[in-house]
């Protein structure tokens, strides 16, 4: 390797090492963890089940998360409807316009 080539390689190496520091100094955000594993120690019941599912089967975790969200949304919606109708508000029509 010629002296010129050695200098070029050294310059590249230095640039590659310092570049992330420069980006961080300019306020670049730190990268989050690419692979995240839930810590299941000390968990019980619902939390343990979902943390385990999260660690072992992401597809099933996603499906169950969406289903639980839908069920919770519908259930809470129905409960709130009942509560509002007990108060006596008429929710079938509106009187105000634009």
């Amino acid at each position: 390797m010629t002296r010129k080539r050695k200098l070029q390689a050294l310059a590249w190496g230095l640039a590659m090492t310092l570049a992330p520091l420069g980006i961080m100094a300019e306020g670049g955000e730190k990268q989050g963890k690419l692979v995240h594993v839930a810590d299941t120690r000390g968990l019980t019941g619902f939390n343990l089940y979902f943390a385990d599912l999260y660690n072992t089967n992401r597809l099933l975790f996603a499906i169950e998360a969406v289903l639980i969200t839908v069920i919770m949304g519908v259930t809470l919606g129905i409960l709130m409807d009942k509560l509002v109708s007990v108060i006596g508000l008429d929710l079938s029509k509106r009187s105000v316009k634009e």
């Binding site: 996603a62 839908v70 949304g73 029509k93 634009e98």
Partner: protein, 339 residues
């Protein structure tokens, strides 16, 4: 307050559950009232509470889907949801989002993504804010001139309805008959901007439905929530597969969002459409101020502006709802006594 501190099982974040409930209430109220997902409030708030950004986005999307189910059910009962319009706009919205995201990738390669996106966001928020205030001003002028009940003082939709490129569609709930290409192109443009700006799109969809399609404000709010619900469910699934949802936080926020969404949605029964538009304009201007502050490096002030605006607007809507409900109950009691 330590009593409410919990450790979330997946992200390991320690958080005060009461804060999550209150955030859920605020987003439920404003989302149900304005027809928005509220990602612009929830994602930064969760980030401030200690969630890593990808978890903040995924958790927000999942919560947004659940909350929109509650609001959409209520709006559907009021007859405010035009499903046909929602499906057409959503189909083209998705294509627009994909292209918008690709433009962002291209800008990222050039190293221009961050500042360009933020300034385009500021320009659009300023335009929407000005449009809403101009519309309100024009409506006041029309009222003074005794023009009677008008749906909108800005009538761009009437001009757009004259373009009759087949096929034509009838949108009965919105009370509109127009070329299919009108909602399709508006959906595409909203999606393009939403994908480019990295937001849910409710902030853009609501004024687009009012001023470009010609929907009454209430139908715009209901239909917007319907599309947000579908988009949120897809977002929840895809972020779930990527492992960036904190389900326990979603459920706690939903417990707060359920009564909040009811209050926000029922408030649309008592507050006139133009009142909703005006409050929407103020919220948009606060969101714009927050983005500008963030851009000039005042992150703390940006969060303060957004949280103050959210708190004040939530209180205004809650007070409006309770005042309207009290009046209705009083009128009912009087009518019973009269009989």
């Amino acid at each position: 307050m330590d009593f409410f501190t919990i450790t979330l099982p997946i992200s390991g974040v320690e958080i005060n559950a009461l804060l999550l409930v209150l955030l859920g209430v605020a987003v439920g109220v404003l989302g149900g009232f304005f027809g928005m997902g509220g990602a612009w409030m929830v994602t930064p708030a969760l980030n401030i509470f200690g969630f890593p950004m990808p978890f903040a986005v995924g958790t927000d999307l999942c919560h947004m889907a659940g909350k929109s189910i509650i609001s959409t059910r209520r709006h559907a009962k009021f007859g405010n949801v035009d499903m046909k319009l929602g499906f057409i706009m959503l189909a083209f919205d998705v294509v627009g989002i994909e292209i918008g995201a690709r433009v962002v990738m291209f800008l990222e390669k050039l190293g221009l993504a961050g500042p360009v996106i933020r300034w385009v966001y500021v320009v659009f928020l300023a335009l929407i804010g000005m449009l809403v205030f101009y519309d309100f001003y024009k409506k006041q002028q029309l009222d003074k001139a005794g023009a009677g009940e008008v749906q909108s003082a800005i009538t761009w939709h009437e001009t757009l309805h004259k373009i009759k490129i087949p096929p034509m569609v009838k949108l009965p709930v919105a009370g509109v008959e127009c070329s299919l290409w009108l909602p399709a192109s508006v959906g595409f443009m909203v999606g393009l901007l939403a994908g480019f700006l990295g937001i849910g799109g409710g902030l853009l969809m609501m004024p687009a439905l009012v001023y470009l399609i010609g929907c009454p404000t209430f139908v715009a709010v209901g239909t917007d929530l319907f599309t947000i619900m579908l988009a949120g469910l897809y977002g929840a699934f895809t972020y779930g597969v990527k492992g960036r949802i904190e389900l326990l936080a979603v459920l706690i926020m939903l417990a707060g969002a359920a009564p909040g969404a009811q209050i926000g949605t029922i408030a649309t029964k008592y507050i006139r459409g133009y009142g909703i538009r005006l409050m929407f304009g103020v919220t948009v201007i606060c969101a714009m101020a927050s983005v500008i502050l963030k851009q000039i490096g005042w992150g703390g002030a940006a969060s303060w502006v957004i949280m103050t605006a959210v708190s004040i607007m939530t209180l205004v809507v809650i007070v409006g709802m309770f005042k309207g409900a009290a009046q209705e109950l009083r009128a009912k009691r009087l009518s019973h006594e009269g009989h």
